[in-house]
Symmetry: C2
Subunit: 160 residues, 2 copies
């Protein structure tokens, strides 16, 4: 039997991973938005462009999966990024359902221009974290996501 991390007798909201995640993410969102807002750009928009620039995503679906973002929201986000000349769309020849996304030169420049601003902010934020703490937090967040993702996929198939 696996370790029971939570017990009904002792459970407190302040120890719940769900609550801790929500709270931290909400604040992080604020901080990130404050970095990008002066450049008329949202956190998700920038992350999407970053994913494209890293080659981690080529299509809208890739972005949805990578960012856990809504389909429709991504379509509309791409609309505005395209309008602003940061991203271009081109119907794929191999699979005509797919629209291939590419960063324009302007878009790539925008990504690079904002990267140091975000990095500075993150480093400032993590001042009190040792290298070990930082890498452990990174690792555990990724591990948690993998577990959540597995659970999520299972749920979609009605497994319990």
């Amino acid at each position: 039997m696996a370790t029971k991390h939570y017990d009904i007798k002792t459970f407190r909201s302040s120890e719940s991973i769900g609550y801790l995640l929500k709270r931290a993410q909400a604040r992080m969102q604020d901080v990130a938005e404050s970095v990008f807002a002066p450049h008329d750009m949202s956190f998700v928009q920038w992350i999407a462009m970053l994913k494209l620039s890293e080659g981690q995503a080529q299509t809208a679906s890739d972005l949805c999966r990578a960012m856990c973002h809504d389909n429709g929201a991504v379509t509309r986000m791409l609309d505005t990024l395209e309008e602003r000349g940061f991203v271009s769309r081109q119907r794929s020849q191999q699979d005509r359902r797919v629209v291939e996304l590419t960063l324009t030169a302007t878009g790539a420049a925008q990504v690079e221009a904002l990267k140091p601003k975000l990095i500075d902010e993150l480093n400032l934020l993590l001042t009190d974290f040792s290298a070990a703490e930082f890498s452990e937090l990174t690792r555990l967040l990724d591990k948690l996501y993998q577990a959540l993702d597995a659970r999520h996929s299972a749920a979609r198939q009605g497994v319990n």
Copy 2:
């Protein structure tokens, strides 16, 4: 000089705390909602009631701060919780700006009824986490929040 966890040369989205947090939180949200949805209850609603039941919050403002949630959203959430008889509001005598919140018996019962469901789900989710990993993740998430909160307060005062 503090440790520079991120460097512009090597920065990758998949290591960014902001991205990792957003992704994990989005999935966690899904999982939590799937627990509460059958009972016509949202994750935030339940957390709010839990906070009340733990005595961690007495007023709407307390809930806002504790949960990093919007003022207006909390007001409206309390409207529906009150309608459903889970929460009652009463104007404070000491400070007549304040509305004191109390869980009704029905509300308390609802919190208790759903607690084991959430706990089971969380334990299942964290099966592959050792006790050490679990407590370290909890600690680091809290530490991160403290740092974010300090940064957030500083920003509100225009400090850089």
